[in-house]
């Protein structure tokens, strides 16, 4: 079953191309939509809700065409906007009940669903107090509750972790995960923070400048190859143990990554080794033992989604890895975003 399908979907404003022949096929589960500001995320959501006509191409949500069935789609889909959208002078209960009725729920059902939903997002006694007095985290929960209250088949969450502190962020991500695992509702969540989606999503779609950069499951992103982080001690014979191991491993034909751990504490002493199989572990162990050094640690590192933004640099990186022994301090990873103004892409409709 396909939840969201787009076919060479384009949206052009007089000056900006917000979406450029975007073709997507998103199944059930939690899907992350990653892109910088202005990458076309908000435009895509507007089109998916049937609120803004596409310039060309087609899109379908839950099997319904967005151009002709906007109202039916919005009845089955929940939407949590990025910005504040809550009136401060009413309580969360009153507000969510009203929003449930706006989604077509009869009065009694609206009340029951509101009580249930607010409990599920973690709002208890405070739900009877005016929203104006809520913390940012509580407001985010109310925003999430109004998107879920009519038991949609799909929710579109636009930057749900914006403005939250690390704990609030973790709680929100846990909640998003539960929306699918416990509630059985598919989720499309946008973010510009890749690390968040890595933990939460089954599938990640990367858009940049309105174009599809990459679409694959999170495990593809992070587990195609295993990277080992290796740290060794120094000895009298090898005052720089790290360099000695690097030279020995390169001689043994093992690929080392350069640069990616730069900027972290102790980064200069950690070698990133690409593990092609079980025997890589043995080779590392034997190499370190032969050199008479102590092995402080050898652990698996997952790839970070951030690396997809370096895809263009892959060739260069491979070349760099080959001469890794003299690897200089690489520049910190800079995602290859186009720096468009967000306003240009989202306000035109």
């Amino acid at each position: 079953m396909t939840v969201i399908a787009t076919e060479s979907l384009s949206k052009r404003y007089p000056r900006v191309t917000a979406l450029d022949r975007l073709s997507l096929d998103i199944g059930p589960g939690v899907t992350g939509l990653v892109g910088a500001n202005g990458a076309g995320k908000s435009t895509l959501i507007k089109i998916l809700l049937g609120l803004s006509p596409a310039t060309e191409g087609r899109a379908a949500v839950l099997g319904l065409d967005v151009a002709t069935h906007g109202s039916a789609i919005r009845e089955r889909v929940g939407y949590m906007p990025e910005h504040d959208c809550l009136p401060p002078d009413v309580s969360a209960t009153e507000f969510v009940v009203h929003m449930a009725r706006m989604s077509g729920l009869p009065p009694t059902a609206a009340r029951e669903r509101t009580a249930d939903t607010l409990r599920h997002v973690g709002l208890y006694e405070e739900r009877y107090r005016p929203i104006g007095g809520y913390s940012t985290g509580m407001k985010q929960r109310v925003k999430l509750a109004q998107a879920l209250v009519h038991d949609p088949q799909l929710v579109l969450l636009d930057e749900p972790t914006n403005g939250l502190d690390p704990v609030g962020r973790d709680e929100m991500l846990g909640l998003i995960r539960r929306i699918h695992t416990d509630f059985g509702i598919s989720v499309l969540v946008t973010s510009h923070l890749l690390g968040e989606l890595e933990r939460t999503c089954d599938h990640v779609v990367v858009v940049d400048g309105g174009k599809l950069l990459r679409s694959s499951s999170t495990s593809d992103f992070t587990q195609t190859t295993t990277t080992l982080a290796v740290e060794v001690t120094d000895s009298d014979r090898h005052p720089d143990g790290t360099a000695a191991v690097r030279a020995a491993l390169t001689a043994a034909g093992i690929v080392l990554h350069a640069g990616e751990e730069q900027g972290l504490p102790g980064a200069g002493h950690i070698l990133l080794v690409e593990a092609t199989g079980e025997d890589t572990y043995d080779t590392v162990r034997d190499t370190v033992a032969d050199l008479g050094l102590g092995l402080v640690r050898m652990e698996q590192r997952r790839h970070h989604i951030a690396e997809v933004f370096h895809d263009g640099d892959r060739a260069a990186q491979a070349a760099q890895a080959a001469q890794a022994a003299q690897a200089p301090v690489a520049a910190p990873p800079v995602p290859q975003f186009q720096t468009q103004q967000k306003g240009a892409g989202s306000d035109g409709a």
Binding site: S42, I45, K46, L49, L51, S52, G70, S71, A72, R74, E75, V77, G78, Y79, P81, H83, D84, C85, L86, P87, P88, D89, V90, E94, H98, M99, R101, M102, S103, G104, L105, P106, A109, R113, D116, H120, P130, Q146, H150, D151, R178, T181, D182, F183, G184, S346, A349
Partner: protein
């Protein structure tokens, strides 16, 4: 939370909803009733009930006094003032009510950016505008028609002529219906221009009172200098004098214009056209306003 929720006593888990979804027209009705209730502070904080309720009471008190006088004075055969005059006399109260409630109806949604939440639901732009417009007009109608109802019941208690009173009451109702539609439209357009509530209040008061003051002053000058033709012409430029002109021409009202003549039936037609034009224009302006207010 453990995936297996069946073993937890207090957690009944997520229940999905299989009941009816009543769709777009139900959502529009819900928005209408929520906005209408909100116009009297119902479903909102206690503080926001104060002003509309006070204004509603102030609006009804003169009608009660009129009725009391009519019943108490022996030998009277009619109410001291006409049904159609009531709204003209109390126009300041109506203006204050509109100025306080039109911004709370539309500026709030704009200011707190609640509008995108509405448009992410089954309703369309036209539903939102129609529901808000109808709710504001109904709130004004309740405000202006209730005193007329009190007067009518009072006149029946005083055993005045039933036919005369009912006819006058009916004419009054048509007049305040037009007034409600006109004022609601103008008030909502002014309020929807700005997300700032204070500006909205000022704009509505300005729109109702400043033209009225100017028109009355110029009419007075025209009357004193003998240019009686200009009186009717000037009446077209303020909302309340428009209503005055229409009801004088068609609804048997006594005009509050200087000289008390008001427009003839022929010129009254121009008044009616301007009123209807303003109502349709307000609706169109609101539709245009919300074209860009989506997500």
């Amino acid at each position: 939370m453990a995936p297996d929720t069946s073993t937890q006593i207090h957690n009944i888990g997520y229940r999905s909803y299989d009941g009816p979804r009543l769709g777009r027209s139900y959502a529009r009705t819900s928005l209408f009733s929520q906005s209408l209730r909100g116009a009297y502070g119902l479903g909102r904080s206690a503080k926001s009930k104060v002003l509309p309720m006070i204004l509603f009471a102030v609006m009804c008190v003169p009608a009660l006094i009129i009725v009391a006088v009519a019943i108490a004075v022996p030998g009277s055969t009619d109410l001291p003032i006409k049904y159609t005059t009531y709204a003209l006399t109390t126009q300041v109260i109506i203006g204050l009510y509109l100025a306080s409630q039109a911004p709370q109806s539309v500026s709030r949604d704009l200011r707190f950016k609640t509008v995108p939440l509405y448009f992410s639901r089954p309703i369309e732009r036209v539903d939102y505008v129609v529901a808000k417009y109808a709710a504001m007009a109904s709130a004004l109608f309740i405000l202006t028609a209730t005193p007329l109802l009190i007067m009518w019941i009072g006149s029946l208690l005083a055993k005045f002529d039933f036919g005369d009173q009912t006819k006058g009451f009916g004419q009054g109702l048509v007049s305040v219906l037009l007034l409600s539609l006109l004022f609601a439209g103008l008030g909502l357009v002014m309020a929807a221009l700005t997300p700032r509530r204070g500006f909205g209040v000022a704009a509505v008061i300005g729109l109702l009172l400043i033209p009225y003051g100017a028109v009355t002053a110029v009419q007075g000058v025209a009357y004193n200098t003998g240019h009686t033709g200009a009186i009717d012409l000037m009446g077209l430029f303020s909302p309340i004098t428009l209503i005055d002109g229409v009801q004088t021409a068609f609804l048997g009202a006594t005009s509050a214009f200087p000289g008390g003549e008001g427009p003839s039936a022929g010129f009254g037609f121009v008044y009616l056209l301007v009123v209807l034009g303003l109502i349709v224009g307000s609706y169109a302006a609101l539709m245009a306003r919300y074209r860009k207010a989506g997500l």
